[in-house]
C-alpha cells in the first residue's frame, strides 16, 4: 500500500478511535467496573491507539519524505515583486522551481451534492496534519493518564462544597467518572476532525463539535451556577466568532462553489477524470507561480452587473455570453473587482479563529473556562480547541490576502498585550495560566500575520507541550492545596519537588530561556523565530513598528508573570500553614505525565544534525507561494511580507535573539526582586499604581462592557419582540375580531329596527345570522363551517362571472 492510501487509513482510524470510546462509554460507561472506573482505561486506550497510529503515520511520512534542512538560497534568487498591478493583492515567486507542499487529499463521504456543489467529509494530509496528530494525541494521552488519577474523587459519592443548597448544606451527588472520560473522548475526536479536515465545511462541523464538547467539559460541575454560566459563555462567545466564520464560508462558497483545500479529481464511469480546483489553487494558481490573486469566481461575482449585461446582449446565444464573460475576467480583475470579497472571506474565517483561539475581542470566555476540571483546562489550553484557531489560520494561509494578514497581526498584538497585563495581577493560579495562554495565542497569530507561517505554527507546537505541562502542574498543586489562590501558597517546592521542578521547566520554556545562539528550551526557538519575523516585518514596513514592540514587550511581561507565579507558589515560606501541612506530592500516575511533557518542553525545539526537527518538518507543509517575499494590500496600503528564511540570518536574527534574552531576563529579575528577594513590595507597587491595578485586576472591564453593550440590549430586544406579539399583533387580531362582533351587532340592530317591520320572515333569518356571527369569539364551530361553505359557493359564483367573461374571448 502506498503512502497516499496508507495515511488516510491510519489517521482516519486514529481519528475514529476516540469516537468508538465515546460511544462505548456512553452506553456502557456506568457498567465499566466499579463506578465506571474502567472507563478511564477505555478512553486512555483509545487515545493511546490514536497516538500509536499517528506515530506509524509519522514514520511512514518521514520514510518517504525525509526531513532535511531547507536550503534558502534556492528561493531567494527568485524573489521578485508581482506585476499584476492593482489586483489588490499579489505575491511573488515566479520562479520556475516554485515550491509546492506535499499533501494528500480525498473524500470519504458526501453530505450533500447538487449540481457542481458538494459538501463532504474528507482528508487533507500534509506534514502539518501529521505533526498535529502526533502532538494532539500525545498530549491527550498524557492528560488522560493524569486525569485517571486527578478525577478519582468522582469514583465515589461527591460532596460539592461550592454548591449551597436552599435547605442549607452542600450538594451530595454520585460520582461522574465515566461521563468525564466520555466527553474527553468526544473532544479528542472533534479536535482530530478539525486537523484532518479536507475542506472548510468539515472544519466548521468539527469546529462546532469542539465547541459543544467544551460546553460539556467546562460545565462538568453543572450543579454550580458558575460552571454552567462559563460553559454557556464559552459556547455563545464562540458562536459569535462562528457567525463571522459563516460569512467567510458564504463568501467562498457563493463565489467559488467549493470549500475543498486541495484540488479534487473525480473519475466518471467511463474513466474520464475531471479535476475541480480547490481553494488553494483557485487563489494561488500554479500557472502564476502560486502568486495570490483574486479567483475568477470572485471576480465574476463582483461583476454580476456586467455579467448580466453581457447575458442580455447575447440572450440568443448563451455560449457567446459565456465566452465573452471569460474573456473579460482579467480586465475586471485588474480593476480590483472581487478583492473585497477575498478580504471578507479571509477576515470571516479568521473571525472563527478569533473565537476559538480566544483572541481580542472574544477572549473573555477562556479565563472563565477554568471552571472545568483542571485536566480539561490543560487540554483546552494546549493542544485542542484554542490550538484549532491558530491551526486553521495556518491551514487556510494560502487564501489570506496581505490585508487580512495585517488584521491578524494586529489582533494578535492587541491580544497578547491585554492578556499579559491582566496576567500580571491575577492571583488565581489557573487564571494566570489562562491569560498566559491567551497572550501566547496572540503571539502565534501575530507571527502568522507578519508572514511567519512556520514561526507561528512552531510556537503552537512548543506551546502545546509546555502549556499542558504548566496546567497539569497547577492541577497537581490544586490537588494538593485544594485552592487556586496563590496568596495562600508558597514554599511548596519542598513538599512537591517533582511538581515544582517540572513546572520550573515549563516556566523556563514559556519565557524562551536558553543560552543565546547555543541551545535553549523549546520556547527559545519558537519565540526567537517570532521575534525575528516581527522585526523583519517591522523593518520592511516601518509604519507597523508597534508590532515588534508588542512582541518584545510581551516577552518581558511573560517572563514577569510566569516567574511571579512560580515564586509565589513554590518559593519562600508557606503563607498558609494549614495548607502547607496538608500538601503532598501527587501520585505517580499524575507525576509521570508531567515528566514526559517536561522532557518534550525541553527538546521539542531542537534540530538534530542532519536537519531533523520541527521547523524543517513544518517547511515541508509550507503553503505554496509563501516561501518568498510577498507584497500587496489595498485596504491598508502597500505591505511587504518578508520571506521567513530571511529572518533566520544575519543581523535580524542576532538582534531578535538578544532582545528576547534581555527582555526575558529583565522580567525574571523583576519577578525575583518582588516575590523572591522581596526588594520591592508587591503591595506597595499595587498601591502606587492603584487605578491601573484596579483596571487590570478587573480585566479591563471587558465582561462588564460586553454585558452592557451586548447582553442587556439583546435581552431588551428579546423582551420587545415578545411584547410586540402580545401588545401589538395580538391586539390587532383581537381588534379585528371585536370589530366583526360590532358589525354583527349593527347588522342585528338594523334588522330589528328597520327591516323587522317590513319583512318579518327575512328579518328573522338575518337576525339569526347576526346572532351567529356575534358568537364568533365564543367557540361555536358550525358557523365557521357554514361560513366556509357559503363563502366557497359565493366565491365560485363571483369568480366564474368575473373571469369567464374576460377570458372567454
Amino acid at each position: 500500500m502506498d503512502l497516499s492510501s496508507q495515511l488516510p487509513l491510519l489517521l482516519g482510524l486514529a481519528w475514529l478511535a476516540p469516537l468508538a470510546s465515546f460511544v462505548a462509554i456512553l452506553f456502557f460507561g456506568p457498567r465499566m467496573g466499579q463506578h465506571g472506573k474502567n472507563a478511564a482505561w477505555v478512553a486512555t486506550a483509545a487515545i493511546l491507539t490514536s497516538f500509536v497510529l499517528s506515530l506509524v503515520a509519522f514514520g511512514g511520512w518521514i520514510g518517504s519524505h525525509p526531513v532535511q534542512a531547507v536550503s534558502h538560497g534556492a528561493h531567494g534568487a527568485h524573489d521578485s515583486h508581482g506585476d499584476e498591478a492593482a489586483v489588490g493583492a499579489h505575491g511573488a515567486g515566479h520562479g520556475p522551481a516554485a515550491h509546492s507542499p506535499i499533501a494528500y487529499s480525498g473524500d470519504w463521504y458526501t453530505l450533500y451534492e447538487g449540481g457542481n456543489l458538494k459538501l463532504s467529509i474528507g482528508w487533507y494530509i500534509d506534514a502539518l496534519t501529521i505533526l498535529m496528530f502526533v502532538v494532539v494525541t500525545f498530549i491527550a494521552t498524557c492528560i488522560h493518564v493524569y486525569a485517571s488519577g486527578y478525577m478519582h474523587d468522582e469514583l465515589h459519592d461527591v460532596t460539592d462544597h461550592e454548591v449551597h443548597l436552599s435547605g442549607g448544606g452542600h450538594l451530595h451527588r454520585p460520582g461522574r467518572f465515566p461521563r468525564f472520560f466520555q466527553a474527553l473522548s468526544l473532544f479528542c475526536f472533534s479536535m482530530l476532525g478539525i486537523v484532518i479536515a479536507g475542506n472548510l465545511a468539515m472544519v466548521f462541523i468539527f469546529w462546532e463539535l469542539v465547541g459543544i464538547c467544551s460546553w460539556f467539559l467546562i460545565g462538568f460541575y453543572y450543579e454550580r451556577k458558575s460552571a454552567s454560566n462559563a460553559a454557556n459563555k464559552a459556547f455563545i462567545v464562540n458562536r459569535v466568532g462562528d457567525f463571522g466564520m459563516l460569512i467567510g464560508l458564504m463568501a467562498l462558497w457563493g463565489a467559488l462553489g467549493t470549500l475543498h483545500f486541495a484540488d479534487t479529481t473525480t473519475t466518471a464511469a467511463d474513466g474520464a477524470a475531471t479535476t475541480q480546483p480547490g481553494l488553494f489553487s483557485l487563489v494561488r494558481p500554479a500557472a502564476g507561480g502560486h502568486a495570490l490573486r483574486v479567483p475568477d469566481g470572485m471576480v465574476k461575482f463582483a461583476a454580476a452587473k456586467e455579467v448580466a449585461q453581457i447575458a442580455a446582449d447575447h440572450a440568443a446565444n448563451p455560449a457567446d455570453a459565456a465566452s465573452e464573460v471569460a474573456s473579460k475576467i482579467d480586465d475586471w480583475r485588474s480593476m480590483g473587482m472581487g478583492r473585497w470579497l477575498l478580504f471578507v472571506a479571509g477576515v470571516g474565517i479568521f473571525c472563527g479563529c478569533v473565537g476559538k483561539s480566544a483572541q481580542f475581542p472574544l477572549f473573555v470566555w477562556l479565563p472563565d473556562a477554568m471552571e472545568g476540571p483542571t485536566p480539561v483546562s490543560a487540554l483546552v489550553h494546549s493542544a485542542t480547541m484554542v490550538a484549532a484557531g491558530v491551526y486553521l489560520v495556518g491551514r487556510f494561509y494560502p487564501v489570506l490576502s496581505p490585508d487580512v494578514l495585517l488584521v491578524i497581526a494586529y489582533v494578535g498584538a492587541i491580544t497578547l498585550f491585554i492578556a499579559a497585563t491582566i496576567a500580571l495581577v491575577a492571583n488565581d493560579i489557573k487564571r494566570v495560566l489562562a491569560y498566559s495562554t491567551v497572550s501566547q495565542l496572540g503571539y502565534m497569530m501575530l507571527a502568522l500575520g507578519v508572514g511567519g507561517w512556520s514561526a507561528g505554527l512552531f510556537h503552537l507546537v512548543t506551546h502545546a507541550f509546555f502549556k499542558s505541562l504548566l496546567f497539569l502542574c497547577s492541577g497537581s498543586v490544586i490537588h494538593a492545596c485544594h485552592t487556586n489562590d496563590m496568596r495562600k501558597m508558597g514554599g511548596l517546592a519542598r513538599v512537591m519537588p517533582w511538581t515544582a521542578g517540572t513546572m520550573l521547566v515549563g516556566c523556563l520554556a514559556i519565557i524562551g530561556a536558553g543560552i543565546p545562539f547555543v541551545i535553549g528550551l523549546s520556547g527559545y526557538y519558537s519565540k526567537d523565530a517570532i521575534l525575528a519575523q516581527a522585526l523583519s516585518f517591522a523593518q520592511a514596513n516601518p509604519a507597523h513598528w508597534i508590532l515588534y514592540v508588542a512582541v518584545a514587550g510581551g516577552a518581558f511581561l511573560t517572563a514577569f508573570y510566569m516567574f511571579r507565579l512560580w515564586f509565589m507558589t513554590f518559593a519562600g515560606r508557606p503563607r498558609d500553614h494549614h495548607i502547607a501541612e496538608h500538601a503532598h506530592e501527587s501520585p505517580a500516575v499524575m507525576v509521570a505525565p508531567l515528566v514526559a511533557l517536561a522532557v518534550l518542553a525541553v527538546v521539542a525545539g531542537w534540530t538534530l544534525p542532519g536537519g531533523f526537527g520541527l521547523a524543517n518538518l513544518l517547511e515541508q507543509a509550507r503553503p505554496a507561494g509563501t516561501e518568498s517575499t510577498m507584497t500587496g494590500g489595498f485596504v491598508f496600503g502597500g505591505l511587504t511580507f518578508p520571506a521567513e528564511h530571511e529572518s533566520h540570518e544575519g543581523a535580524i536574527h542576532v538582534t531578535a535573539t538578544l532582545t528576547a534574552f534581555t527582555t526575558a531576563a529583565a522580567g525574571v529579575l523583576l519577578a525575583a526582586a518582588m516575590y523572591l528577594w522581596r526588594i520591592l513590595s508587591p503591595t506597595l507597587v499595587a498601591y502606587m499604581f492603584r487605578p491601573l491595578y484596579r483596571f487590570l485586576a478587573n480585566r479591563w472591564y471587558f465582561d462588564e462592557l460586553y454585558h452592557a453593550v451586548f447582553v442587556v440590549p439583546a435581552l431588551g430586544i428579546a423582551k420587545l419582540a415578545s411584547s410586540t406579539d402580545r401588545g401589538v399583533i395580538d391586539k390587532i387580531i383581537d381588534g379585528l375580531a371585536w370589530s366583526a362582533r360590532q358589525l354583527a351587532g349593527i347588522d342585528a340592530w338594523i334588522d330589528r329596527t328597520l327591516v323587522d317591520g317590513l319583512v318579518n320572515a327575512t328579518a328573522n333569518a338575518t337576525w339569526h345570522a347576526g346572532l351567529e356571527l356575534k358568537k364568533l369569539q365564543t367557540g361555536h364551530l358550525r358557523q365557521y363551517v357554514m361560513f366556509i361553505v357559503v363563502g366557497t359557493v359565493a366565491l365560485f359564483v363571483l369568480a366564474s362571472l368575473l373571469f369567464r367573461t374576460t377570458l372567454a374571448g
Binding site: 451527588r173 459543544i212 459556547f235 463568501a251 454580476a304 406579539d725 373571469f803 369567464r804
Partner: protein, 597 residues
C-alpha cells in the same frame, strides 16, 4: 378512460389506504357500538392504525426493505411524479381524484405517518373524552396526508379544510386553561388563509386553459394518463383540443405547465393593474405563510402550542407547519414563476425576519413550551429563506445549483424540524405531565433527577440548536450558505441567527436541566422516564442523529425532484423571463420539457 382499467391503477389502493385508513378507523371508532369506557381499546386501535399506516408508507417509500419493487412503490432517483392515481370525481368542473408522490412529498408523507404514530403513543395521558379525541386525531391525520399527496387543487383544498376542524377541536377541548382563546385564534388565522387561498384557486382555475398545452405536456401532467395509449390517447387529446371554450383545470401539474409557458395565461391576465399570476401568488403565499408561520402572522402558534396537549403540539410543529412550506414549493413557485421571481425578496425577507424575530422572542420567554414554539418560528424561517433564494439570474449566468441548494436545504430543514420540534415538544410534555407547570424559572436540577430523560432531551435540543452531527445542522447550513448568492444582507442576518439560537437553547437547558436542585412545585413527582415515553423519545433521538450523520438518506429522495424543479425554473428565467421577444411559434416549442414528466 375505461373505468375498470382505472380501478386497477397500481397505486390506487396503497395510496388510498394510506390517506383514508385513519379516517375509516375514525368512522369505526365513532360508531355507538364502541363504548366510551373502553379507553385502552380505543388507544390501542388508534396506535395500531397509525403503525399500519406507517408501515404502508414505508412500504411505498422504501421498497428494498420489503424485498420486491412493485409499480406502486417509490423509485429513488426519479424526479417526476410516481404512483399517480387518477379517477374522475366531479366531472362538471374537471375535478379529479388525482394523487401522486414525488421526492418532495414522499419523505413528508413518511414523516407524517411516523410522527402520527408517535403522537398516538404519546396520547395515553389524555383521559378526557378519549373516544372523541382519537376520532378527531385520526381525521386530522387523513387531512394532513391528503394534502401531501393531492395533485388536484380542489382535492388539496378539501383536505386542507378537513385538517382544520379536528385541529380546532383538539386544541379547544383538550387544551390548557386558555384553550378556547387559542383555538379561536388558530381558527381565525387559518380561516383567513383558507379564504384567500380559495380565491387564488378559483382565479387560477378560471384562467387556465388546457388547450394551450402541447400533447406531450398534457400527458406529462397526467391530464391524459400516460397509461392510456393508442386510439384512446388520441381521443382524449382530441377532446381537449377540439373544445370550443377554454378547458379549465384543477390539475396542479397542468397548472404548473401553463404557468411556465412563455405565453402563460396567468401572466397575461391582469386584475387591477397587476398580473393575475402575482395576485394568485400573493394570495396563496398569505395562506401558506400563516401555516408556516412567518412573522407577523405567527401569533397563533405560541398560543396554540402552549394550550394544545403534548401529542397535538408534536403534530402541529412536526407536520402542520410543513404544509405551508410544502404548498409554497409545490404550488406557488411552479405555477406562478414570474411572481415567484418578482417576490423572491418578499419570501426571503419574511424568512429572515422570522428567523431573527422568532429567536429574539424565544430568548424572552418564561414558559418552556412557548420558548419551543418561538424556536419553531425561527427555524421555519430558514425554510422560507431557502425556498426563496432565486439566485439563478443573468448576473449569475443562470447557475441553478445555489438556489437548488437552498431549496434542498429548506426541504431538509422541514424534515429535520419535524423530528426535532416534535421531540422538543414531547420533552416539554414529559416534564409537564409530572410537575404540571412550564415556568423556566422554576426548574433546575432535572439532570440529576431524571438522567436518561435529560440526556435524550439535551440531544433533541442540540438538534434544534443546529449542532453538527444532528439533523438541525444540515438544513440550516445549506440554506445559510445558499443565501449569499441571492442577497449579502439577508445572508449576514441569517448567519447572525446562530448566535441567538445558541443563546436561547443553552439558556433554557441551563435553567431546566442543569443546576443543583429543582426549584418548582411537585418535586417528588419527578420520576424517571417510563418505558412508553422512552419508546417515543428514543426513535426521535435516533433519527435526529441518523439524519445528521447521514443526510444522504433524505437527500436521495429530495434532491432529484428539487433539482429538476429548480433547474426548470432557472431555465425558465433564461428562456422565458429574460428572453428577447421572439416569434410565438418558437416560444411555444421552447416550453417543451417543462414541469414533471
Amino acid at each position: 378512460m375505461d373505468p375498470t382499467a382505472s380501478l386497477t391503477q397500481p397505486a390506487l389502493w396503497p395510496l388510498t389506504a394510506i390517506v383514508f385508513l385513519p379516517a375509516l378507523v375514525a368512522a369505526f371508532l365513532s360508531l355507538p357500538i364502541i363504548p366510551k369506557a373502553r379507553e385502552e381499546f380505543i388507544r390501542w386501535t388508534s396506535l395500531l392504525t397509525m403503525a399500519v399506516v406507517f408501515v404502508l408508507s414505508l412500504w411505498m417509500a422504501w421498497p428494498q426493505l420489503f424485498g420486491a419493487t412493485g409499480p406502486a412503490q417509490f423509485r429513488l432517483g426519479e424526479p417526476g411524479m410516481q404512483a399517480v392515481v387518477k379517477l374522475p370525481w366531479i366531472d362538471a368542473f374537471g375535478i379529479e381524484y388525482l394523487l401522486g408522490v414525488d421526492g418532495i412529498s414522499m419523505p413528508l408523507v413518511v414523516l407524517t405517518t411516523f410522527l402520527s404514530m408517535l403522537a398516538a403513543a404519546a396520547s395515553w395521558p389524555i383521559t378526557k373524552h378519549v373516544k372523541a379525541y382519537h376520532v378527531l386525531f385520526l381525521l386530522l391525520v387523513t387531512g394532513m396526508l391528503g394534502v401531501f399527496v393531492s395533485l388536484d387543487f380542489f382535492l388539496f383544498y378539501v383536505f386542507w379544510e378537513v385538517m382544520l376542524l379536528p385541529m380546532y377541536f383538539l386544541i379547544g377541548i383538550w387544551g390548557g386553561p386558555r384553550r378556547e382563546y387559542a383555538a379561536i385564534k388558530f381558527f381565525l388565522y387559518t380561516l383567513l388563509g383558507s379564504v384567500l387561498m380559495l380565491l387564488a384557486i378559483l382565479m387560477l382555475y378560471f384562467t387556465s386553459d388546457l388547450r394551450l398545452l402541447s400533447d406531450d405536456q398534457l400527458i406529462a401532467a397526467h391530464v391524459v394518463s400516460p397509461a392510456v395509449e393508442g386510439a384512446a390517447r388520441a381521443d382524449a387529446l382530441t377532446a381537449v383540443r377540439s373544445a370550443k371554450n377554454p378547458v379549465h383545470t384543477f390539475n396542479l401539474l397542468a397548472l404548473a405547465q401553463l404557468g411556465q409557458l412563455p405565453s402563460s395565461p396567468f401572466a397575461a391576465a391582469e386584475v387591477w393593474g397587476m398580473s393575475l399570476e402575482k395576485w394568485a401568488f400573493l394570495l396563496l403565499l398569505i395562506g401558506f405563510v400563516i401555516k408556516v408561520p412567518v412573522v407577523p402572522v405567527h401569533t397563533w402558534l405560541p398560543d396554540a402550542h402552549v394550550e394544545a396537549p403534548t401529542p397535538i403540539s408534536m403534530i402541529l410543529a412536526g407536520v402542520l407547519l410543513k404544509l405551508g412550506g410544502y404548498g409554497i414549493l409545490r404550488i406557488c413557485y411552479p405555477i406562478c414563476p414570474g411572481a415567484g421571481l418578482a417576490f423572491a425578496w418578499l419570501v426571503c425577507g419574511l424568512g429572515v425576519v422570522s428567523m431573527v424575530y422568532g429567536a429574539f422572542a424565544a430568548l424572552a420567554q418564561k414558559d418552556f413550551k412557548r420558548m419551543v414554539a418561538y424556536s419553531s418560528v425561527s427555524h421555519m424561517g430558514y425554510v422560507m429563506l431557502g425556498l426563496g433564494v432565486w439566485s439563478a439570474v443573468a448576473g449569475n449566468e443562470y447557475r441553478w445549483d445555489a438556489w437548488a441548494q437552498g431549496v434542498n436545504g429548506a426541504m431538509f430543514q422541514m424534515l429535520a424540524h419535524g423530528i426535532s420540534s416534535a421531540g422538543m415538544f414531547f420533552m416539554v410534555g414529559v416534564l409537564y405531565d409530572r410537575v404540571h407547570h412550564r415556568n423556566l424559572e422554576e426548574f433546575g436540577g432535572i439532570f440529576n433527577r431524571m438522567p436518561v430523560y435529560s440526556g435524550l432531551a439535551v440531544a433533541v435540543f442540540f438538534a434544534g440548536l443546529g449542532l453538527p452531527g444532528l439533523c438541525g445542522f444540515i438544513g440550516e447550513v445549506l440554506v445559510t450558505l445558499s443565501s449569499w448568492n441571492y442577497s449579502r444582507t439577508l445572508a449576514v442576518i441569517s448567519a447572525f441567527t446562530v448566535i441567538l439560537t445558541a443563546a436561547y437553547i443553552l439558556w433554557a437547558i441551563q435553567r431546566v436541566y442543569l443546576g443543583a436542585e429543582y426549584k418548582g412545585p411537585h418535586g417528588d413527582h419527578l420520576t424517571p422516564i417510563t418505558a412508553r415515553e422512552l419508546a417515543i423519545a428514543a426513535p426521535l433521538v435516533f433519527f435526529a442523529i441518523l439524519f445528521g450523520v447521514a443526510p444522504q438518506i433524505l437527500f436521495n429522495y429530495v434532491t432529484p425532484t428539487v433539482n429538476r424543479q429548480v433547474e426548470t425554473l432557472a431555465d425558465w428565467t433564461r428562456r422565458v423571463h429574460d428572453a428577447p421577444p421572439v416569434a410565438p411559434a418558437v416560444a411555444q416549442r421552447g416550453a417543451d420539457g417543462v414541469g414533471s414528466r
